[in-house]
């Protein structure tokens, strides 16, 4: 098999010779088309100085030493001067918007972008800066036909397609005819030929052959191949991130005669196709409503405006995150859009809602997910009761306290308002899912940074990257004059501002504008700044004109610092930062501890022979343990899943007895007393033999499983259940403490620890003993002790310098803080610092099944033999909407049931999938033969817990890999290489990761031609990745000085297999395919890092992790024990040595229910000399058969 240089746009010039590896030169003579296409060469010349700085960080290089910012989102607001500010949920200061030249009237924010209407009445969009660029692929096909004279040539038959066309062949598409959509885009590179054909490399310039157009194309040229085509691709990139980009209004001068006056974005929860789709609605001065077509993540500007007819003259519009859209009319009524759904995000019809009182019409509305707030012309605030997707009009108005200029509903239905008189910003406190109207208005007293310098040009520099960035700002002038002003803390919206004396003067204009809403927007606001410009220092609090909370996530556990004046400290410094706390704490605590030790020494040293006042009570039980002093610690009643059939929960009495051995070491025994056939019996477990305590939260029981080596081999743990969650947590904490005590394990896990995650998201850590990978007397896998660390993750990856990253089910990235405990471990089992709130989100799916009958069509009346009409995916379990509960008691619902359209195979517009019968393969269209159909319903649930983890903001991840410490390279001061795959499939490389800053600074994007799914970096900077088409890629020339490497080499997958994961150790490369086969890459050498071929190692593998010593650990799918079968078992490859890197057999450890494992921090090395010794006899065993403790001696080396 061949590795082919996979040409890659501006990945830089001719690949440099990588350190330690010599990828390119070798590749060039080994593999076919090593030369990039000519077109690419041209680009290289132009681009030779650009290199990788250009690629990812875009002007932020070198990254500033910025400590970690708290996960935050921002509130957007416009003041009376038209200046735009943002206020972070983690911050205490208004940050001025970077683009200070423009003055705005209205802004409407979403999570990643903000739309606005500037004072020139043009629409602008600001896309937040991100480490991952917005890039789109353009493609064109070159078509050729064979003729006997010239062979393949561009001369086609008259009936043929264009020589240059789109994929269908219907559209003419010459390369130079493909233009950028707007000024805000730039080309990333020139056109080049795509040589990857469905995961397989093609020969001879990417041509694929067919008998005729249109037909099925193949890689190979055959005798009857009369036509051929190849695909050219080119990327364009959105270049106006973090700047206001003007939406061209050129479309048609006839259609858009008048300027815009209001605008609202929302609708991102209506559908996720395409990614990041937004509904952007606008109102013109003439009262017309417009909808912006095709706004999405990859097309942030949208394509065109289309007119939506309204029955009256619209004044203002508000679009909620979901399907609510309300418009206020000139006459004071509100229009409600109906029929908005994923197939028709524009909706279909309007219905009218009358204002609360006829004399005062509605001036302003704002919609959320299931709320509508309104302000009437007398400035009263109203809450619309009973609004939801099914009834977008709601039922009735409720008057709320306070007078407001406007209100805005943001994420989670949180509400902000601008006070009518004082023009201050108010936050509605106490808004929860159960109490959507909230409790009180609370004034936001955040200061503004650099108030004076706003008009200066230095300002934009000053605030560069303020929006979504992670940078810490200087705080010299952060303490705005407003912070000290007493008039800030006004009790309610009714008090008068400092600048405008008396209610009368203010009420006047507000009344006037009440009747002419547009005047407020266009003229009166323009006048006010003139009067106020001068006394900026006297009038020190901001007067706000507009607020938008559409990008601002405030939740129950969010603590906001907006309501108190700060004490001069820069807000970012106060946020959680990894590097500061532990050192200080440690010094402080150390001192106390030292003095305590000194005191103990002083008071006890000379008096050790004194008798203890309190003797340890002796165990009076007379059991075998009576030889040791033993003391009752805790007893209680639990339930036990009995060992014999029929298995059932039986009531037991449990006692934990603690004893002190002769050497002073503590050990404990857990006794479980039960009664069977009226006979009293007990089993006991020595806690120093316990290898894991795994909480098993289920719907009904608070239970946990207790493993010993023997129980692990049986695949049958001791399962105990407590009556309450608290009771279970008490037992679990105490047992864990006792286990750690008897193993003398304290504090945080060592940097070499082996990290793993169970299918429940629980995190377990094991300390590698020195003989874990030792040459002789290896510790059998099932004797490893696993202890739990708080938190909830799907993936965890570690490195021997103590950097640990995790990824949650919701793709949030987390970095380990160095603490321990959290979760259900409280008190002594948890570190006091470095434990923070953590959360995760996942979806629960159920299926609605229907059968067709000739009379009524599809109904929920099935045949008696059919599955439940509401069921799980298998159809075996009944799951109704009402009866389905979150996965465990830790989870709570955070949404209602909704139809999931993203199921494999696709659905019809209503989400149905059809089949001839249950269970069968489902397809998206109904055919004559389909008698059953189903659709998937999903519901979002959320878990909030605590653990030693901090969120890494900005990019959601799918996979992550940290460079394993190369043996012998300890203490090198280099940054730690960390690669990741974003949830969208972008390949990312993290800069600035070190022991002291495990979070790193920023991402650098590494371009690919398709989404990737898995990445792994080896000790010598070998980066391997797996793409969505199942093929592997090798990244050449990655080094500390060139962290993102040079170009991708395409490595075809094993025949007929699609790879899904890859793991690289010191020299070994292992990959896993979708059918659970483990493959070893044969022929990898420093001079030929891509290797030659895949060799099959094993089946039955779910996940693989290759360590820095080339040790291979996997999660096996199924392992049969003497009592039961376990799924998801930790296994170590035995017999791995330099001459036999594939190893020989498996050693089975803890399981089942394990999902993920990282051995990559475990660099505890066997003595060098022993690695040269040939291994003694090896036992091979196929992995699908369980074995006992695997005592295979065999050195691991590289």
């Amino acid at each position: 098999m061949k590795a082919i240089l996979y040409s890659q746009r501006n990945e830089g010039p001719v690949p440099r010779r990588p350190t330690g590896l010599c990828a390119v030169s070798v590749a060039e003579h080994r593999c076919g088309p090593a030369h990039p296409p000519r077109s690419r060469r041209g680009k290289e010349r132009r681009n030779s100085s650009g290199e990788w700085q250009e690629e990812g960080v875009r002007g932020r290089w070198p990254p500033k030493a910025a400590p970690a910012a708290m996960p935050s989102s921002a509130l957007w607001a416009v003041d009376l001067f038209g200046r735009v500010f943002t206020l972070s949920t983690a911050g205490q200061h208004w940050e001025p918007c970077r683009d200070a030249q423009l003055e705005f009237k209205r802004v409407s924010a979403a999570r990643d972008c903000c739309w606005g209407i500037a004072c020139d009445h043009q629409v602008y969009v600001l896309v937040g800066a991100s480490d991952v660029p917005i890039r789109c692929q353009e493609e064109a096909y070159e078509n050729q036909r064979w003729n006997p004279v010239g062979g393949f040539c561009e001369t086609l038959l008259p009936s043929d397609r264009w020589p240059w066309s789109d994929v269908s062949g219907l559209q003419h598409r010459p390369l130079d005819g493909v233009a950028l959509p707007s000024l805000h885009w730039e080309w990333e590179s020139d056109w080049y030929v795509d040589e990857n054909f469905g995961g397989e490399p093609t020969e001879k310039g990417g041509w694929t052959y067919a008998i005729d157009f249109p037909a099925a194309y193949t890689r190979d040229k055959k005798w009857n191949s009369c036509v051929r085509r190849r695909r050219w691709i080119r990327y364009r990139r959105y270049k106006s991130q973090d700047a206001w980009a003007k939406i061209p209004s050129e479309d048609d001068p006839q259609q858009l005669p008048d300027p815009f006056s209001d605008l609202s974005v929302g609708g991102w929860e209506v559908t996720d196709e395409p990614v990041g789709r937004l509904s952007v609605w606008a109102v013109t001065l003439q009262g017309k409503v417009w909808y912006r077509e095709n706004v999405s993540h990859h097309n942030p500007e949208g394509s065109s405006w289309s007119l939506v007819d309204t029955p009256g003259e619209a004044v203002q519009i508000s679009c909620g995150p979901h399907d609510l859209l309300w418009v206020t009319l000139w006459e004071g009524q509100a229009l409600v859009r109906e029929g908005i759904n994923r197939n028709n995000p524009k909706g279909s019809s309007w219905s009218t809602v009358e204002p609360p009182t006829s004399e005062n019409g509605i001036l302003h509305v704002s919609t959320g997910v299931c709320v509508v707030w309104a302000v009437t012309k007398d400035r009263k605030v109203w809450f619309r009761r009973g609004v939801n997707s099914h009834n977008p009009c709601g039922t009735s108005w409720i008057e709320m306290f306070g007078e407001m200029m406007m209100v805005n509903v943001g994420l989670n239905d949180q509400v902000w308002g601008i006070g009518c008189v004082d023009r201050a910003l108010y936050f509605r406190q106490g808004v929860t899912q159960s109490e959507l109207s909230g409790k009180t208005w609370k004034v936001i007293v955040a200061g503004r940074e650099g108030d004076r310098s706003l008009s200066g040009s230095s300002f934009s520099l000053h605030s560069a990257g303020c929006f979504f960035g992670n940078e810490v700002r200087g705080s010299a002038e952060s303490c705005g004059p407003g912070d000290t002003d007493a008039s800030w803390e006004v009790p309610g919206p009714a008090s008068s501002p400092a600048g405008l004396r008396g209610k009368e003067s203010w009420k006047g204009p507000s009344h006037a504008t009440a009747n002419f809403p547009e005047a407020t927007d266009l003229s009166s606001l323009r006048l006010l700044p003139l009067g106020l410009e001068e006394p900026d220092s006297a009038d020190c609090h901001a007067l706000w004109a507009w607020v938008s909370g559409g990008g601002c996530a405030v939740e129950a556990h969010t603590t906001l610092k907006w309501f108190t004046t700060q004490s001069g400290l820069c807000p970012s410094v106060q946020t959680l930062s990894l590097s500061i706390t532990p050192a200080q704490t440690a010094a402080w605590r150390k001192q106390i501890f030292q003095q305590l030790t000194e005191r103990t020494k002083r008071e006890l040293e000379n008096f050790q022979h004194y008798e203890q006042a309190v003797e340890q009570v002796r165990n009076a039980r007379g059991t075998s343990s009576s030889r040791h002093p033993s003391v009752w610690v805790k007893t209680g009643a639990l339930q036990w899943w009995c060992d014999w059939k029929p298995h059932k929960w039986m009531d037991v009495h449990v006692a934990l007895e603690q004893l002190t051995g002769h050497d002073g070491a503590q050990d404990s025994i857990l006794f479980i007393y039960y009664v069977v056939h009226e006979e009293k019996k007990y089993i006991h477990v020595f806690l120093n033999e316990v290898t894991a305590l795994v909480p098993v939260f289920s719907e009904a029981k608070h239970s946990f499983a207790l493993y010993t080596p023997e129980r692990t081999r049986q695949r049958w743990p001791v399962r105990l259940a407590a009556a309450t969650e608290q009771d279970m947590s008490d037992w679990l904490t105490l047992l864990n403490l006792s286990c750690c005590e008897s193993r003398r394990m304290h504090g945080r896990p060592s940097p070499q620890a082996i990290w793993s995650v169970t299918c429940k998201g629980d995190i377990f850590v094991s300390e590698p003993s020195p003989d874990l990978e030792g040459p002789e007397r290896r510790l059998p896998c099932d004797q490893m002790f696993w202890r739990q660390i708080g938190g909830h993750l799907r993936v965890v990856e570690a490195n021997s310098r103590g950097v640990v990253w995790g990824i949650g089910y919701d793709h949030t990235a987390w970095v380990y803080t160095g603490g321990y405990g959290g979760g259900c471990f409280q008190g002594l089992a948890s570190s006091t610092s470095n434990v923070f709130t953590q959360w995760d989100v996942k979806f629960v799916h159920i299926y609605e099944n229907q059968r067709w009958n000739p009379v009524t069509g599809y109904t929920s009346r099935g045949l008696p033999t059919d599955r439940y009409m509401w069921s799980d995916a298998t159809g075996l379990q009944e799951c109704t909407k009402a009866s389905t509960k979150p996965p465990s008691l830790q989870w709570t619902w955070v949404s209602d049931w909704f139809v999931d359209f993203s199921v494999p195979g696709g659905t019809d517009p209503e989400g149905w999938q059809y089949a001839s019968d249950f269970p069968a393969s489902y397809h998206k269209y109904k055919t004559m033969k389909d008698f059953v159909r189903r659709r998937c319903w999903a519901r979002k649930c959320k878990l909030v817990t605590t653990g030693p983890w901090l969120e890494v903001t900005s990019v959601a991840l799918r996979d992550v890999s940290i460079i394993p410490e190369s043996p012998g390279a300890h203490g090198s001061g280099l940054n730690i290489a960390l690669w990741a795959i974003s949830d969208k499939g972008d390949v990312l490389c993290r800069l600035g990761v070190s022991e002291l800053n495990p979070e790193g600074f920023c991402w650098m994007h590494v371009g690919t031609d398709q989404p990737f799914t898995s990445v792994s970096i080896g000790t010598c900077y070998q980066v391997w990745a797996v793409a969505r088409d199942g093929s592997a890629f090798y990244r050449s020339s990655v080094s500390p000085s060139r962290p993102n490497g040079d170009c991708w080499y395409h490595i075809p997958p094993p025949p007929k297999q699609r790879l899904k994961q890859v793991s690289v150790g010191h020299t070994s490369v292992f990959a896993l395919d979708e059918n659970g086969n483990l493959w070893y890459r044969q022929g990898v050498t420093p001079s030929h890092p891509q290797g030659d071929s895949w060799e099959h190692v094993s089946n039955n593998v779910r996940h693989v992790s290759v360590g820095p010593l080339d040790q291979v650990w996997v999660i096996a799918d199924k392992v049969q024990g003497s009592h039961s079968l376990s799924r998801g078992t930790v296994c170590r490859r035995t017999g791995v040595q330099s001459l036999e890197p594939k190893g020989q057999g498996w050693d089975y450890g803890i399981g089942g229910g394990w999902d993920h494992l990282s051995i990559r921090a475990s660099a505890t090395r066997a003595p060098r000399s022993s690695s040269q010794k040939p291994a003694s006899k090896q036992n091979g065993q196929p992995p699908s058969v369980a074995g006992g403790p695997w005592q295979t001696p065999g050195p691991v080396c590289c």
């Binding site: 440690a586 010094a587 305590l596 000194e598 103990t600 004194y610 008798e611 203890q612 006042a613 610092s833």
Partner: protein, 294 residues
């Protein structure tokens, strides 16, 4: 790695070597040998002196024995004060072991409470715990506990079982994550110089402007007499655990503090320097944290 648990253990396993001698006027049948014991600092005298009682009763006639009480240098020792407190308050400057005189006659009714049985100690201990929880959690935690939890707490103290005690006590030491600490800090300041037995006031862990309080803040507010400058920093290793130093010779001049420093962690150290300057020699202050000592 210094850990809470290590500190808690050291506090729990703090011992005072003590020499018990029988009062000279007590009538004995033969000479009474002194009796040596290591007393747990966190326990109560009458709870841990069964051995002492037995030892001396052996040499005495039955009719001469009435309720046992203890005295140090003429001061009757209140059994309802924790042992560590008594020692730091009265004897921290003297050489070890601590010499306690044992009496069986002429019970000082004025100074001491009777302690007829361990139940009385338990009742006193539990009332202290409850009072502390009333300040910390409006009694919510202690009231939610079952009788057996209360018993476990007491048995933990009585049998000197750290794990047993802390398995329950940790619940008393928790507070919701969204709050910065307890409602009020439960403390008492004991001084030898004043007439009042102790000072006790309501004190919140967080100031009105959101700043976390330090122990220094508390002392300044509650007991200004204890606050004066001029203790040079190097001499006092740290203000916080000075009660740990109190039993050393030079340490006797320093305020002696009982405090659970876990509550507001690192911040205490930030203001430590300031407080060090503010300490007054010659005053003995004790801040009693009930869970620890009571």
């Amino acid at each position: 790695m210094t850990d809470d648990k290590d500190v808690l253990r050291d506090v729990w396993f703090g011992r005072i070597p003590t020499c018990f001698t029988l009062y000279q006027d007590e009538i004995t049948e033969r000479e009474a040998e002194p009796y040596y014991l290591l007393l747990p600092r966190v326990s109560y005298l009458t709870l841990v002196t069964d051995k002492v009682k037995k030892h001396f009763q052996k040499v005495m006639r039955q009719e001469d024995i009435s309720e046992i009480w203890f005295e140090y240098e003429g001061t009757p020792l209140k059994w309802h004060y924790p042992i560590g407190l008594l020692f730091d308050l009265l004897a921290s400057s003297s050489a070890l072991p601590w010499n306690i005189t044992v009496h069986f006659k002429s019970f000082p009714e004025k100074d001491l409470l009777h302690c007829p049985s361990k139940d009385v100690i338990e009742a006193h201990f539990m009332s202290c715990v409850k009072e502390a929880d009333a300040l910390k959690h409006k009694s919510q935690v202690i009231n939610e506990m079952q009788k057996k939890d209360h018993k476990q707490l007491w048995m933990g103290l009585q049998n000197d079982r750290f794990d047993q005690f802390w398995a329950i006590n940790r619940k008393l030491m928790e507070y919701p994550a969204e709050e910065n600490g307890f409602r009020y800090i439960p403390f008492r300041i004991y001084q030898t110089t004043t007439e009042r037995p102790f000072i006790q006031k309501l004190f919140r862990p967080v100031s009105t402007d959101g700043q976390l309080h330090t122990l220094g803040d508390l002392l300044k507010e509650v007991c200004p007499s204890a606050v004066a400058p001029e203790v040079p920093m190097p001499e006092v290793c740290s203000w916080l655990p000075t009660w740990l130093l109190a039993s050393s010779a030079e340490g006797s001049h320093l305020p002696s503090l009982w405090r659970d420093w876990e509550e507001d962690g690192p911040r205490l150290s930030q203001q430590g320097a300031e407080n060090r300057r503010n300490q007054s020699p010659g005053t003995e202050t004790r801040l009693l944290h009930r869970e620890k000592s009571a």
